[in-house]
């Protein structure tokens, strides 16, 4: 008797763990998330603006009459994990890799991210090629990949410390403890403002690297039809200049802040 129950219990466990139990819930709304405070690409605050890519997704959804909800801020790994499992429908802003392409579908490129070299204003140097960084001491966030080729070059030729948080990154550059720090361009400017280091640090004009950014969609979403519509609308927005319009708005905003800072 006991063994019979055990077998049923085992079978149930098997079903839970091995078989995908497809639930037949309908799609009520798209659940959207993005990198936590990834200014200006995606961020969450009280305003209606959610960053360049956040706004692109929300406007595209509004145009097509799809209901949306912004999910709670979460670590990046959990966001990607949820997107893979279908608990999240859309990630507003992600890089494309071979592995990710197997698991997610993607929009066409909607914007780009730039890595910049941030230096102390009194400690600027010419940077036009990667060789200009040889012999200098840099710092970046632990695990931050700059792309395969640049990572390999950095490994073979550069000395780059790795640290856990952006506060330390910019403070180390400000204290001249290192010669430069590597970070996203606009996010970096935003962090510098937050740390009141606008008079001390600047990004060098030449980007270190530039990567296209995409909207990523879950392949296991309950809203595949809506996702298809959204993807088409995003492509249409790119063609009719609506995406550029959103990007220009943020560029004006960033430039205004920059002018204000320079005036200070």
């Amino acid at each position: 008797m006991v063994s019979s129950k055990m077998q049923w219990f085992g079978t149930l466990l098997y079903l839970i763990f091995f078989l995908r139990v497809e639930t037949a819930f309908g799609c009520e709304k798209l659940l959207i998330n993005g990198g936590h405070n990834w200014y200006p690409y995606f961020y969450q605050d009280e305003t209606n603006h959610k960053g360049i890519i956040g706004d692109i997704v929300l406007r595209a959804a509004a145009h097509t009459g799809i209901k949306t909800e912004i999910a709670q801020a979460a670590p990046w790994k959990r966001i990607l994990f949820d997107l893979r499992s279908g608990r999240l429908d859309v990630v507003a802003g992600a890089l494309k890799t071979e592995e990710r392409e197997k698991l997610f579908s993607y929009s066409s490129p909607v914007y780009f991210s730039q890595f910049r070299i941030f230096v102390h204003r009194d400690h600027q140097f010419n940077f036009s090629t990667l060789e200009d960084l040889i012999g200098k001491h840099g710092v970046k966030i632990r695990g931050l990949s700059l792309g395969e080729n640049l990572d390999q070059f950095a490994f073979e030729n550069l000395v780059i410390e790795e640290i856990t948080d952006t506060n330390s990154l910019f403070k180390m550059v400000a204290a001249k403890r290192v010669d430069y720090g590597i970070f996203y361009h606009y996010s970096g400017l935003s962090e510098i403002d937050r740390l009141n280091l606008g008079n001390t640090l600047i990004p060098l004009p030449t980007p270190l690297t530039q990567e296209p950014l995409y909207v990523a969609f879950s392949r296991k979403s309950r809203c595949l039809e809506q996702i298809q519509q959204l993807s088409k609308e995003i492509a249409r927005m790119k063609e009719n200049g609506a995406i550029q319009e959103i990007a220009d708005y943020y560029a004006r905003f960033i430039n205004n802040r920059k002018v204000l800072r320079d005036d200070d």
């Binding site: 077998q7 990198g35 994990f81 890089l95 001491h137 966030i141 695990g143 990572d151 403070k171 403890r177």
Partner: protein, 699 residues
């Protein structure tokens, strides 16, 4: 099971006879689990190369610089302040029960003995002091707090509490090449909280039954660029009982019924297990400044009952300690300087010979060169330890000068090779010791790290071993005397450890680590009874420190598995080990005879389960089970053997965050295996019921 399985024809094949039924069941379970693993062993390439590293936990002790735990070339574990608080831990050594590879036994309320990987009671047959751990180095903010009286640590002298700890890092394996002598089976590194510039005021209060009360405060503030933190505590613990075990009577008795032949019979307050107070002031500036510093002053005053000085009557003695310390860490670019000085008095009550002053001065300097694919770190260190007491005939000094060179080379992004070499020059014995760590890691995949290590270490000299010069006349029987002397040239115990390890991330919230290790220890010494004879009117027993041919070999494996869900997490860890001793002395009286045997003082299996569950916002329920399999301590004839049966110590803690400034918790500790001694006839450890609150004001 058999009947149903037979009906459906599973055993219709004669090869699948009923004798195979059990095997088949295990096979099915194995297949199920392998399926589970394969389903959840998704190679998470998508997480790689983004902005998040595989492990978000960092450690500094493994390479003397911050690195993510997953990449560390050593066997290392980290436990955070948050994890400690969730577990309702109220004593610092107890927190180490949350870490794999650490054996923790409670002696009296709040007093513990701690071993890393074991070698408990090796060699066997010695005195009670042979049960203390003299193989592991303990550090606080890079300051070595190891005690040179007879090795080990006086845990009660730590000038901080659980509430001052930022995190604890534990290295398993020999690490003398990194940190000098005594890091033989590992290193326990306490990293205390560091003021960060905000003004805060904190109070932590705890009360428990049996009567225990503890109060802790801390305040942080900044003056200009300088951040400071002031903290202090008072901690009073009653024993679980008032009786003491009598070796002569083989039972626990009230103190007035024990015949104290050795004279160690002064127990003015048998109820009191621990009475400790301390204060610590720390100053620092931002660690990212070009010139960064940490400066601290601490003072502690404590009286505890614990297993310390060997007594032929009862295991516990009362020990007083009053010490102060300053510690300075300076950092300019890649240049690191650390200096510290500790001074004070310690005493074992009622034994005037063991009342002494002590001072411990340390300085070390290291520089880290960074080149692409290379990190080179040379350094020098110097240590001077001075004790002044009757047991060593006045003031005596131990000196160590160390020279370190640590090199890391990264031939490809997947490989890492580390060679750390250290040369130590001692005044006693007048000899030099060389230790090394050769380590290699290979990142097989972004979520899998293989590592291998060969490491050596040695113990330092102690006052007892090298300077002891004592003629002890029994107060209750002046016709009896024991003459004990150390050996200034006694060799230092040394260890060689070989390890291989695997870390694998099954998923972003699910990872495990396996480490296989083999350690060989040799060059033990022990106080050997030379004989007994008449000296005038006194019958004198002479004991002299002698080198022993004893060698111990330990083979073991530690498995550590972490799983984290949205509102719960689980950590299971277990160590299995076997220690064999060659040339174990049958007794410590001359003439010595030796046998080969297994060491039974270290449990064959030990580990724990830690589970946190947040059923509701602001609530956390922590279940912690700590397990030690049966083991037996064997001491010299007058004290005999103690068998500790397999035991599982269960704790349950419920904590609640009322608001941003008030947390509260209740905890029930030692819920299982109640009223048993965890050490050598020390107190029966009863359940302890704790209630506590944490107040934090931060404008």
């Amino acid at each position: 099971m058999t009947s149903r399985a037979y009906q459906i024809g599973l055993y219709s094949n004669p090869i699948l006879s009923p004798g195979w039924k059990l095997d088949l069941r295990w096979l099915m379970i194995a297949i199920t689990f392998s399926g589970l693993i394969s389903r959840y062993s998704l190679a998470d390439e998508l997480f790689f190369g983004v902005t998040d590293e595989i492990s978000d936990i960092t450690a500094v002790s493994g390479s003397k610089r911050e690195e993510d735990l997953f990449s560390s070339p050593l066997s290392i574990s980290v436990i955070s302040a948050e994890q400690i608080k969730k577990a309702g831990v109220i004593s610092i050594p107890e927190a180490l029960r949350l870490i794999p590879g650490v054996i923790v036994r409670e002696q009296t309320n709040g007093q513990f003995s701690v071993h890393i990987r074991g070698f408990d009671n090796v060699p066997a047959g010695t005195s009670l002091t042979g049960l203390s751990n003299r193989f592991s180095l303990i550090m606080v903010d890079n300051r070595k707090v190891y005690d040179y009286f007879n090795g080990g640590l006086f845990w009660e002298t730590l000038p901080f509490t659980i509430d001052d700890i930022e995190r604890i890092e534990v290295i398993r394996g020999a690490a003398s090449a990194l940190y000098g002598s005594n890091a033989m089976t590992g290193v326990i590194h306490f990293i205390t909280k560091r003021a960060e510039g905000d003004t805060t005021l904190e109070a932590n209060l705890m009360a428990a039954n049996p009567s225990s009360t503890s109060g802790h405060f801390a305040t942080e503030h900044s003056f200009g660029m300088t951040n400071f933190r002031l903290s202090g505590f008072t901690d009073q613990r009653d024993r679980y009982q008032t009786t003491y075990y009598s070796f002569a009577e083989d039972q626990y008795l009230p103190v007035d019924q024990i015949n104290f032949t050795s004279g160690i019979g002064h127990y003015p307050d048998p109820e009191k297990a621990r009475d400790a107070h301390a204060l610590m002031l720390s100053l620092n500036n931002d660690p990212t400044e070009r010139f960064a510093y940490d400066l601290s002053f601490s003072h502690q005053d404590s009286r505890v009952q614990k297993v310390h000085i060997s007594s032929s009557d009862t295991p516990l003695t009362i020990n007083d300690s009053n010490t102060s310390a300053v510690n300075i860490n300076l950092n300019y670019d890649a240049f690191f300087v650390r200096a510290s000085h500790l001074w004070g008095k310690q005493a074992t009550l009622d034994i005037p010979d063991f009342n002494y002053d002590k001072a411990n001065s340390q300085i070390s300097m290291e520089y880290q060169f960074r080149k692409p694919q290379w990190i080179i770190r040379p350094g020098i260190s110097y240590k001077s330890i001075v004790y002044d007491g009757p047991f060593i005939g006045g003031e005596r000094r131990l000196r160590e000068a160390g020279y370190l060179l640590r090199t890391e080379y990264f031939p490809t992004p997947q490989y890492r090779l580390v060679a750390a070499l250290r040369y130590d020059d001692y005044n006693l014995p007048s000899d030099n010791y060389f230790s090394y760590q050769i380590l290699g890691t290979y990142r097989l995949h972004h979520d899998t790290l293989l590592r291998a290590a060969i490491e050596t270490a040695n113990r330092s000299s102690f006052m007892i071993n090298h300077y002891l010069d004592l003629m002890f006349t029994f107060p209750n029987n002046p016709s009896r005397r024991v003459d004990i002397s150390g050996d200034p040239e006694a060799e230092l115990v040394s260890i060689t450890t070989v390890e291989i390890g695997l870390r694998h991330q099954l998923n972003f919230n699910n990872w495990f680590e396996i480490e296989l290790f083999r350690s060989d220890i040799e060059d033990f010494t022990s106080f050997i009874v030379q004989g007994t004879g008449l000296d005038g009117s006194q019958l004198v027993t002479t004991r002299q420190l002698e080198w022993l041919p004893t060698e111990a070999t330990q083979l073991g494996v530690t498995v550590d598995w972490h799983y984290e869900a949205v509102n719960w997490d689980l950590n299971i860890f277990l160590t299995a080990q076997d220690t064999h001793v060659d040339e174990q002395a049958v007794s410590i009286s001359k003439p010595l005879t030796f046998i080969n045997t297994d060491n039974k003082g270290t449990p064959d299996y030990y580990g724990g389960v830690v589970h946190n569950w947040q059923p509701l916002d602001r609530w956390n329920i922590n279940t912690h089970v700590y397990y030690l399999s049966s083991h037996t301590f064997a001491l010299e004839q007058t004290q005999g053997n103690a068998h500790n049966a397999s035991a599982m110590y269960a704790n349950l803690t419920i904590s609640h965050r009322f608001n941003n400034w008030l947390n509260g918790f209740v905890s029930a500790r030692n819920l299982s295996n109640q009223s048993e001694s965890q050490h050598f006839f020390t107190d029966h450890i009863d359940p302890l019921y704790v209630v506590g609150i944490n107040l934090k004001w931060a404008p």
